[in-house]
């Protein structure tokens, strides 16, 4: 393993352990006397109704689909940007063709009205 990552792993482990330890110790130390009033929504909040996992509108899904697809585009753009100078003009053309095809998709979605919010 690249040894350079050891500090990061240690940091990750500490970061994950910290909230767990904090919550657990708090639970052990604090007095516990729940009552109905205490368990209600905080102060003037509205009483929660129904399930927190309600149904969403499809629009959210379409937006998230587009996000993910263009995310993939970024994955391919990134290494190109890193080697921009070495790849030269040919690389520019290559990535331009790639982007042009994806822009066809973008224009299609735009014209289709899938991006309109209402």
């Amino acid at each position: 393993m690249p040894q350079g990552y050891l500090p990061i792993f240690l940091f990750l482990i500490i970061a994950m352990a910290f909230p767990v330890i904090a919550i657990l110790t708090a639970k052990l130390v604090r007095p516990s006397s729940p009552s109905k009033l205490k368990l209600e929504a905080y102060e003037c909040g509205i009483e929660a109704v129904g399930n927190s996992r309600g149904r969403y509108a499809v629009r959210f899904y379409i937006i998230s689909i587009l996000f993910v697809i263009f995310d993939v585009e970024t994955v391919f753009l990134f290494p190109w940007a890193v080697r921009f100078h070495q790849l030269g003009w040919f690389g520019v053309i290559e990535i331009a063709v790639f982007l042009a095809i994806l822009i066809v998709g973008y224009v299609w979605v735009y014209k289709k009205g899938a991006l309109e919010w209402v």
Partner: protein, 488 residues
């Protein structure tokens, strides 16, 4: 360093044209009016895309012929242009053109006419090109998925139809699953060779020796994926449902383009990559072929839905093509090519008769719907009879030539057992095809209604009918075409 040579361009161009026209159709959709005329223009553009690609393929053929059919390798060995790729590209292009011609009226009737359909057909054909000509596993994989994803959408194109939804869902779930297995096999091939090129595999296998467990695992997982794609048992279960639920035009395209391109991939992987490991995969494929013949033909007997029946018969046909590969001689490979060619025309024709017979809102579904077709619509009944004869392999139709070569190759290579099994199932298939024929000609008549098939449907019916007869009576030119696929 990176290059894009004129050879690369020449080899790629037909596929490139298909993709370009696909993009054009998507964008031009917004320029043309949303009426019958506007859509007609777009269909014309999509068809001209296929036309340009065909013209370019013809140029490729002339070039190859002038250079004594020496394969042309492009993109550092990722893509190859040889007679084999050309032949299968031709089948894909022909089926794409025929399917686009017959789709217009069908989609209008289903009230789901969107020009995206034509773009997706073009993209699927483009993906198929990389199965036919791909030598690099990454290219093959991406091409395969391009074709498969386009087909998932096409199968589910009737979005408000529950059966279409379900068919798409099943095809997608099982398709994704099988792709996973295929690519798992590919990953082990990569591990064995350190290269993603199939040609590199052939050099490694002798060193690994026969019955190497890792190689065996890779072959088995790859075969699972490939057998699924060609719709062979025991991974055929998606086919009847998908064929039944999909729009009939898509069913025809799926049964022809997807199946032939997948067979091209299977042949390429088995003969180029694993040619030296024949003793490892031959028993597996033999088992799969016999099972496919059994399941396809026996299950077809009990079907009452015509599309399902044709789906099972198409599974059975995959078994015959596999037999040609198993025979393993030159005759067998010619048999595979000519079989797939004849199968393409007969299958599109048979599904097309169903499309022509459907009136607005009333689809032809069950065998009873075909009752007394001979009296009601004698022309369609005769055409259907012709296509069924071809599918069953009776002379003087196209199907006979395909079956003849498959059986000839089995006899030549001394695999008499398989030849007998195959012949047995031809007899079984005669039975269920005859059920359709009996329903068409020997049942009580019900009144005829006026059909108004579009000109596209008429044209394609005529074309497929003529092709089916011509291949049966004058097989020589078509056999020469099949010989191209062997590089002769």
């Amino acid at each position: 360093m990176i290059t894009y040579t004129s050879t690369d361009h020449f080899v790629l161009l037909p596929g490139l044209l298909l993709a370009l026209f696909g993009c054009a159709v998507l964008l031009l959709d917004f320029l043309f009016p949303k009426d019958v005329k506007g859509r007609g223009w777009l269909v014309g553009i999509a068809l001209s895309g296929v036309g340009f690609a065909s013209w370019q393929s013809w140029q490729q053929y002339l070039y190859l012929k002038a250079h004594s059919m020496t394969p042309l390798v492009a993109f550092n060995g990722a893509l190859v242009l040889d007679g084999f790729a050309l032949f299968f590209n031709g089948i894909v292009l022909a089926s794409a053109a025929l399917v686009m011609l017959i789709s217009y009226r069908y989609l209008e009737d289903e009230k789901e006419h969107h020009t995206e359909y034509y773009a997706l057909v073009l993209f699927a054909a483009c993906g198929a090109f990389f199965l036919n000509g791909g030598l690099d596993m990454v290219t093959i994989f991406v091409g395969l998925e391009l074709m498969a994803v386009s087909f998932y959408i096409l199968v589910g194109f009737l979005r408000t139809d529950k059966r279409s939804n379900e068919a798409a869902m099943k095809y997608l779930l099982l398709g994704g699953f099988s792709t996973g297995f295929l690519i798992y096999g590919f990953s082990i091939f990569y591990g064995l060779t350190g290269s993603t090129n199939l040609a590199a595999l052939a050099t490694v296998i002798p060193a690994r020796g026969a019955n190497d467990p890792l190689l065996y695992l890779a072959i088995v997982t790859t075969l699972v994926g490939l057998l699924f794609k060609i719709g062979a048992a025991p991974f055929h279960m998606w086919a009847p449902d998908t064929y039944e639920g999909a729009p009939t035009t898509v069913t025809a395209f799926l049964a022809v383009a997807s199946k032939t391109a997948s067979f091209a991939l299977l042949l390429r992987v088995m003969l180029v990559g694993l040619g030296t490991a024949r003793e490892m995969w031959e028993p597996l494929l033999t088992g799969a072929a016999v099972l496919t013949l059994t399941i396809g033909n026996l299950a077809a007997i009990s079907q009452s839905n015509v599309k399902r029946l044709l789906a099972y018969s198409s599974i059975g046909h995959a078994g015959y093509v596999l037999l040609g590969l198993i025979a393993g001689n030159q005759t067998g490979l010619i048999g595979v090519s000519i079989y797939l060619l004849t199968y393409a025309f007969s299958t599109i024709g048979a599904f097309l008769v169903l499309i022509a017979l459907r009136r607005r809102g009333v689809a032809v579904e069950t065998i009873e719907d075909l009752a007394s077709l001979g009296k009601r619509y004698p022309y369609y009944a005769l055409l259907m009879l012709l296509f069924l004869m071809s599918l069953a392999g009776l002379p003087p139709t196209a199907g006979f030539i395909g079956k003849y070569y498959i059986f000839l190759s089995l006899v030549e290579s001394g695999k008499y057992g398989l030849a007998i099994v195959g012949a047995l199932y031809v007899a079984v298939s005669l039975y269920y095809y005859f059920r359709l024929v009996r329903s068409m000609f020997l049942t009580e008549s019900i009144e005829a209604q006026v059909l108004a098939p579009s000109n596209g449907v008429r044209l394609v019916l005529a074309l497929t009918g003529i092709a089916t007869i011509a291949m049966g009576i004058l097989p020589e030119p078509f056999l020469r075409m099949a010989a191209i696929s062997l590089g002769r």
